[in-house]
């Protein structure tokens, strides 16, 4: 929903966030089933979303992918969903980029990221904060 480039201690900061209706995930899963899951989520994400609150977890991960795309702030950039993965370190969600998006992030000077996920009954959301080097490498 927003992307707000800024600077902290000489380092650029990028922010992205997104909110997803849980009902939308439920609807898509009911319509397209595993094809939807395989298209958007990694095997690890699908595994992490098993059990209770499955729809909310999937919705939060989709929101995280969108938040990352917004942090890049390049509307015409391709966004392979599998290259944006939410992993976990205990209770903490972590962001892992791979492939072309990882290369793009490196070129843009992305140094580290922090990811926060949340959900209520009807919505899930994600916020990504990225600390970047003072200048881009491209």
């Amino acid at each position: 929903m927003i992307t707000a480039p800024g600077e902290v201690d000489g380092r650029r900061v990028r922010v992205g966030c997104d909110v997803v209706e849980v009902e939308d995930v439920q609807h898509t899963l009911a319509t397209f089933g595993d094809r939807y899951l395989r298209k958007v989520f990694t095997a690890g994400e699908i595994n992490d979303c098993r059990g209770s609150n499955r729809l909310h977890r999937l919705a939060a991960r989709f929101a995280a992918k969108e938040a990352v795309i917004k942090a890049f702030a390049e509307p015409d950039m391709s966004f392979p969903w599998h290259e944006i993965e939410v992993t976990r370190d205990g209770p903490l969600p972590l962001l892992r980029l791979s492939g072309t998006l990882a290369e793009r992030a490196q070129h843009r000077g992305w140094l580290s990221s922090s990811l926060s996920l949340s959900h209520a009954d009807c919505h899930a959301m994600a916020v990504v904060v990225v600390v970047c080097s003072p200048t881009e490498s491209e």
Partner: protein, 81 residues
């Protein structure tokens, strides 16, 4: 092709307006298409045109208008023959 795309948008876009009545250059995101609904649209387009959207066309701009969708689908149909 645009009529079939508009039918897919009507069935899966979950938009606030009738996609069959919007200009082909109109911004679909402005008209209520969400990022998540664009996934539904993409999967339904794959079914309708028997194509697969590769990573390189998964861009915001691909789903920004009926015109843009038609251009991408037309290219995918050509390359899948």
């Amino acid at each position: 092709m645009q009529d079939r795309i508009r039918n897919v948008l009507t069935a899966h876009g979950r938009m606030a307006v009738d996609p069959r009545e919007v200009d082909d250059q109109a911004d679909l995101y402005e008209l209520g298409l969400t990022s998540h609904a664009s996934v539904d649209v993409m999967l339904a387009l794959e079914d309708a045109f028997d194509v697969e959207f590769p990573d390189e066309v998964l861009k915001k701009s691909t789903f920004a208008s009926v015109h843009n969708i038609a251009q991408v689908v037309e290219d995918l149909v050509k390359t899948s023959v």
